[in-house]
Symmetry: D2
Subunit: 351 residues, 4 copies
């Protein structure tokens, strides 16, 4: 079977580069278009990009000519790494032109007709797609993945919600500098420092998990019935968003119960079978000093969640720490996994 042709919007940026990295040698997709700003459009990708990842620009794309970001690409699916303002303007145009758009950007995440999708959390939310197409008069559609910090916390929350009921959560994150892209955070701001503010992030952390843990009913997502409070902080870490989480559950549990729940949790088999899925999606570390960014960010090729430090919370029920890799699971690789799910569900096809 021939591969599904993929285009990457804003392929020269830091998230765009992660898309390139992930889609090289992908079993389902092949990169057939890369777009960039007027500054880079028309140049070979290898010349236009300031490659931030290890090694060199992959040979497969180094000579590919960067195209303008216009909805006339010869592809079957779009991966968008567009910045917020451009995403708001351009992604609907791609959707109207018939493309499935898998986006990392934030503008449409809370749109009631756009699935905010993580295969292990809410694969059934893709049922919004035909409603989105019908109500917005689109041949294509937009599917968003969550903010990288929301991603870190949502799978453990969903698992707790399903097992015990979840009433409230209070979260503090410690987030990596790569989450701000490039050039991103000035070194004078963050070397030896913590900045207790990331624009808009607290709000995303407080709203996205509630949508993602919600229930699909008749073309709508009913929000999950828990409250979420969050404070996002930037720390001098390169990759990996770490979260400190307290949860008020629907019933009393022991920390052993929760450890066992996390340790033995697996998504449905058809999710585990997705090409990019790690074998172990959720890793429980019993050591008293884990998870840590430098040791746990790359678990499952950067697609696994790692949790640890499960303890009693003197105020709520349970405290724990969770981490994911912010530019892999929390961005590009998360979108690719979403696309793999949508292929399996029949929403994306080769032309």
């Amino acid at each position: 079977m021939s591969k599904i042709r993929a285009g990457i919007l804003a392929a020269t940026g830091s998230v765009g580069q992660r898309f390139v990295e992930h889609l090289i040698d992908h079993p389902l997709f092949e990169i057939t278009a890369l777009t960039g700003s007027p500054r880079t459009a028309g140049k070979p990708y290898g010349d236009g990009v300031n490659w931030l990842l290890e090694g060199d620009v992959p040979e497969e794309v180094a000579q590919m000519i960067v195209q303008p970001t216009e909805p006339n690409l010869d592809v079957d699916v779009i991966f968008s790494a567009l910045p917020t303002a451009e995403a708001r303007e351009l992604e609907p145009k791609f959707a109207e032109a018939g493309y499935p758009v898998l986006t990392n950007a934030s503008p449409f995440r809370m749109d009631p007709l756009v699935p905010l999708l993580i295969p292990e959390v809410n694969p059934e939310h893709s049922q919004l797609i035909p409603h989105q197409q019908e109500q917005y008069g689109r041949k294509g559609f937009i599917v968003a993945n969550a903010n990288c910090s929301s991603t870190s916390i949502v799978l453990p929350l969903k698992i707790l919600q399903e097992a015990y009921g979840l009433e409230a959560t209070i979260v503090t994150t410690m987030q990596a500098i790569s989450g701000a892209g490039y050039p991103g955070v000035p070194s004078l701001d963050i070397l030896g420092n913590v900045v207790p503010h990331i624009g808009g992030e607290d709000g995303k952390l407080q709203s996205e998990p509630i949508k993602m843990c919600g229930t699909y009913v008749d073309g709508k997502i009913e929000p999950a019935p828990f409250k979420c409070s969050a404070q996002a902080n930037r720390v001098p870490v390169v990759d990996g968003h770490l979260a400190s989480i307290s949860v008020k559950l629907g019933r009393r549990v022991t920390i052993e119960e929760v450890a066992e729940l996390f340790n033995n949790w697996y998504p449905a088999q058809d999710i585990l079978d997705l090409p990019s899925s790690p074998e172990k999606v959720l890793i429980y570390r019993p050591e008293d000093n884990r998870p840590q960014p430098i040791k746990d960010k790359d678990a499952g090729n950067g697609l696994a969640w790692t949790v640890g430090r499960i303890r009693e919370c003197p105020v709520f029920d349970i405290r724990f720490m969770a981490i994911t890799h912010n530019t892999l699971r929390g961005a590009a690789s998360g979108s690719v996994l979403n696309a793999e799910l949508l292929v399996k569900q029949g929403f994306i096809k080769a032309a």
Copy 2:
């Protein structure tokens, strides 16, 4: 009036050096004895110490001979920077021998007869001293200052408790490497990383504020009636413990009310008059990215609290961030301020 003669136990360690730094040129105290381990005892202080602070060993003490840590020092007050195990063994001996002991160590902090003292929080807890002397048969006494992370959170909590009532707090800290002393945290563990564990710190954060915010009644401290949950994290920051705090209050408040409460708060005048007291003990920063360790740790010569990012908490009532300098307010300078209070209260005198 002649100065009060002060001895510093474990004067060569990182907290001991901060004591030296603070007591040089102090209006009430003069350093007349420095003690150290067998390795350094007998040497001039300037030779025995691996000076970690800026500049050189102060001339006033460079030639002072380091003495063994035994309760026969020619001093009126003891500042103890002893490590935990030695503090547990030696500090009671100094108290029995008649010395007032101002300690940074943890063993006696939760002793019901030992004041866990911060002048701006609970100056009246020094009333425990005669009870301690009587029940333990000591001529001297021990007064402890709080753990450096507890210190960061306790003053804002106390102010909220007094103003509105406080029912519960959930805290996550981001703590500096200097809190672990020297050599302390290996660089391979913390460079570009966060370690979600500091031995014993979660427990201290959960218990000490409740004692400090408690009420002195008839020779005892009745614990404050709020619950406290905490997670301590080590971050690659040199100085300054930052805390993310959510509070459930006794009544509904607006964020403006809380900002104004913090902004206009002052301790009693006799506390403000202590020689080391900063003019502004609690600094409220309205900027959306403050407080930060590198910008706010040194406020008030390292003795002020800085708070900011006051926001509504979707789960409780209010969230905010707070910081203090961990080796100044949270350690040596905090002890010196305690001693200044005890001089004013008459518990410490020149011989």
Copy 3:
């Protein structure tokens, strides 16, 4: 005597802020004008500036209205923190309009009629000023201070040159991020990394010391007769440029001789008497692990040089390390000290 009225060009940038910091409470100068870009001009300085230094914007200037950078300021002397391109265009206009211009910028450093001045190195180079005024038809003049990395190495080189003769030097620097201004170096480039390139810096390091160590003869500077090779590197350090230096001298010396030379060196008394001069301009550290940025950058209020690790060089004669504070001695404070010298020499006067 009334103070000399000083204006700061580009006062809102990182070097401009250092000028403000140094000139507050200066015994000779008072700030009477601050200029900024069109974005900040017209606003109170406290509103237009993103204050990067510790503490808050000094009260004395917080309400001062930022002016456009035009040569109509009501001042007696100009301190310029302009970026390169603007400096090239605007500084000559200020000089033509009659202002003495003390500049941090690079465009005129190698101009044969512009003194590249460090009071302790080449105070007699100010004799170029009347020649500059005559040949360029200026009522005012431009005096430059050296690049921050050149500054680190030039005083020790000059002292060696005078004592023993200097034939060649090979230098590798490790430079702080504050040298790049704000936002400057992206954190993703430098956290846990070294970047072996700073645009144009190698060339400045290789040429400026030769001019500064040169001889004033009849309206010209004859370059010093040594060769200089340099490699500049950026390291994850906030402040302080450290240099590793090998020198080929005019005669054989022992390391003890050099240590004694450095340890006992003082500038002429009239230089030592300048208001900002540190008591000890050159500090020799005998420890085997000094100088270090965090311990030595602030020596002499950031105006001293610190040298150490003097050793035999198996190829040349001597190796050693040197450091200065790049935004103080190497930038703003260095300019202020130059101005103090020029006041003493009569080139700058109150109106």
Copy 4:
């Protein structure tokens, strides 16, 4: 063919872990013994080790019982990660007992009968082995690999020496914290700092390259006829030793010549054919800001050299920068590559 049985001495330390990592799934060797200190001996490796590398202890060795470091192991070759003092005492005993000992430790590096071996630099130095065996009365032998910082500079120096002649080199290194092992460098010493001293390292840098670039003649190594001056610095980088190098060559060359020389250089084919050899041993980067630790340390699976910033040296002939991964090429992987060479040369065999 059955694999050669390998034992790792001090397998629980940081270099020992790198040996484990490299020898898992090695085509020639299989780990059959791991030794450790009395604290860990007798325990399963997975319990005794504080695993510092990414991921978990490899399953293949997690249950292997750690043995005491005594010369009675059931192996054909020894990889030693012993610390200096123990290496000095124990490695000769292993050599006497008949084992080939590949060591990372320093005590025997400058022994005139011990090859200081890097396959790409001096494979013929293994001819010392029979002389070592004869003169020391050993059935086995010791082969050392170079200090991690010497390793970074020696291959480029050797290539220049062969091509143009080499008269002198002046070097300044910027070395990673992993070079000091674990716990190694205290974070308070290095976070945001540079330490211009690594015990003994300057001397190793100044002597080892001269031995390695020397000529084997009749059972002896005649030292290379160039002089070497070096200053080692510790920087806050996790892995990768970067060196700034100036060289005085035997004849004038252009920078293009040198770039081409480096770019087209390959070792002999039999060295390239060693199982661990990277395809490209020496990588020339033409960008003006390379090599950098975070981008270039892992080139060639951590076994390649990367060079760049080739420029004219105003004092000597050429300047450039070079980097290798200090715990891979500069330690464990370098030893394994040495062992692969010795297998090919017949000095190591399966029993």
